[in-house]
Symmetry: C2
Subunit: 407 residues, 2 copies
């Protein structure tokens, strides 16, 4: 409690949840990487060459010419009605999820806000969330900001290990500490690039049914498949309304509009809408109009094929360089899509200590440890292949190989 | 805890804070008001005639021509560096707040997100916030979503009653229940339109010093002054870092970009940035570029004079009509700026019951009760004069007078 005093006692003012807040290691690190000579595989940015700039010039002009009075105004909290409607159809045509109504869809300020809204709706301090190990750092930060406990299950090149998940759920059920929800990125996961195969997804869905659980399917990269067969979404198996789906235009159009969507039952969407009213009233209307018109004028879907071609080339370039330059005792994933791959060094290596040598040689990665909610991963790191040019990818991997060999 | 069951028990899954969530009465009401024949004074929207659409066409084209690769990309959580820099200068030139550094400024997804971030940083469940009575409904919703207790102090045509504020703080100090912060909209308050005079602001600042308190100064309408002298911001008196200032481009440029700013100590901005990372990573970059270029190409400030001329005419039209048609026993505020005025009926009237008669006659207002955090205001309502055309303002007030007279 404050005293009568000339000085503010900030430490008495901040809430308890502030104690659990730490700056994202990735974001802090990114600030160090602004040197022009740095080859950075550390970010998670789409390549600006993947933005359909010329086509979007016409789309944005059209929004200003025809829709400015609405696009510059406040919008509803749920989001632009026409955009929600076209997402309904798109989920059927492009994602294999049928039977949706506009009432099942809300627009969010990035999928990160979807995660935050769901955390606000479901998590009391001390509640459990179950994730794979490693998992998306932004999800860890959000769950922790609600003082949740994170249970994590190891993954392999088939994603979360389903037999371990089944064992853990049986244990947690007996201990009456089942999680409020499971959080997964089933396709081309951040940070590892791995994809859960269909039969494992069906087993995961059976576990949801068995234990009466909810699952958040975070799917920013699903349409960025370079090769191999499409794997059905968990949402497409969801006969019992157990899956909340998060999609985004950040990786398939452009992140700068900050437009994403959440699919859930009408009950959850209604509560999430009330929560969003108190958080930010609405997502930027202008960006929603730009995204809708990009879909309506058929800019979006033909463009995804171009992104896939661009990123496939970059992934090939990175993997070919790694196969060529990396020592044999280094293993790494071979993602069929998305933006990231994952490197595992021998146990005796320390990716964090190695990073300063790498930065000295002007190449950077993200160390693996922050992606592990409960520790571990000292000998792992994440590489992003979507951002750097092909020449720099090869040169960066060559430098990184030198750093590894010097250990 | 979930049971092994085929059915999800949603009531067991939702967090405790969901119990305190209710849909905003205003937003729910607005959905009923879509009839084209309705004259609505119920909204809080800027007038699209106040959007500088022709000038913004050139600004938006410029952003796409010159800055698309950056404007369509993710941005930093703190916000577009050039925009933060120009806000620094603008706070000195246009708001009378000097000595700021870029590190004191962050960009938010509307001021509503500023309120949400500050609530996350400061409010534990059960903590106290002190507001005027009535106050902005969106603030009440946000504070309640963090399970805060709201203490409220009556206002009159000079804003919050400073002598009552002093008494209450003395009492709360003795009871060791001082608020975590005070929340005020000192200029052209929503919902009443009243402005706190300079001497009262200085007294409020002395109380902050005396009791070691923080204050949030929410200032969406400050530059929309139609007449009378500028009143210095509380932030301009802030020698001891006690005031967090919230500004927005929603009412002086356009809400559709969803760009606002927060000014606070570097410590608070750093923590708010960490909180925002977990909430939504960043505010939409495209909107931030549009707003920055609007300021840089001198579209913004000359345009504010046009908004002021437009809204002054509408306020005059509404007040003249009220003076002419309303019975003598109805009192109302005469705001010198902003977008709202406030009507007080005799004690025996019920603004909620009267609303159905009003809607029958195709005229609408917002009842006062939701703006009172602790009850009261049954005989009050808010009128918005920024949105309707002058003709409809006069016709709507005439209808409303008939409704009042029929009571």
């Amino acid at each position: 409690m404050n005293k009568i005093t000339g000085k503010l006692k900030m430490e008495d003012l901040f809430s308890e949840r502030v104690a659990g807040m730490h700056s994202s290691e990735i974001r802090e690190l990114l600030k160090l990487l602004d040197r022009p000579e740095m080859i950075s595989f550390a970010g998670g940015l789409p390549n600006p060459d993947a933005f359909p700039i010329e086509k979007m010039k016409r789309v944005v002009s059209h929004v200003m010419e025809v829709h400015a009075r609405e696009a510059l105004q406040y919008g509803t909290t749920e989001g632009h009605a026409k955009l929600r409607h076209v997402i309904c159809g798109g989920m059927d045509d492009h994602y294999g999820v049928s039977g949706l109504d506009v009432k099942n869809i809300m627009i969010t300020n990035g999928s990160q806000q979807g995660l935050n809204l769901l955390s606000q709706l479901f998590l009391n301090p001390g509640d459990r969330v179950l994730t794979s190990d490693p998992t998306y750092l932004g999800a860890i930060l959000t769950f922790r900001s609600y003082q949740a406990e994170i249970e994590s299950i190891p993954l392999d090149d088939q994603g979360i290990r389903v037999e371990l998940l089944a064992e853990r759920l049986a244990y947690l059920e007996k201990a009456a500490t089942l999680p409020k929800f499971i959080y997964l990125i089933p396709s081309f996961q951040n940070p590892t690039g791995v994809t859960i195969p269909e039969e494992n997804r069906r087993e995961i869905y059976r576990l949801l049914e068995k234990y009466g659980l909810l699952l958040i399917e975070d799917d920013p990269y699903g349409l960025l498949r370079f090769e191999g067969d499409h794997v059905p979404l968990l949402k497409s198996m969801d006969v019992s309304d157990r899956v909340v789906y998060l999609g985004t235009f950040s990786k398939i159009l452009a992140p700068g509009y900050r437009v994403a969507w959440m699919i859930a039952t009408e009950e959850i969407i209604t509560k999430a809408t009330i929560a969003k009213q108190a958080q930010d009233l609405c997502t930027n209307t202008f960006g929603q109009y730009c995204v809708f018109e990009a879909i309506y004028h058929d800019v979006l879907f033909p463009h995804i094929a171009e992104i896939v071609r661009l990123y496939k080339g970059k992934r090939d370039c990175m993997l070919t360089s790694m196969d060529r330059y990396f020592p044999d005792n280094i293993s790494y994933t071979r993602p069929q899509g998305g933006m990231f791959l994952w490197v595992t060094l021998p146990e005796s290596y320390d990716a964090f200590k190695m990073l300063s040598s790498a930065i000295e040689k002007n190449v950077a990665y993200v160390i693996g440890t922050p992606f592990f909610p409960n520790g571990g991963g000292h000998n792992t790191f994440r590489l992003n292949y979507s951002y750097a040019s092909d020449d720099l990818i090869e040169e960066g991997i060559r430098r990184l190989a030198d750093v590894i060999k010097a250990q």
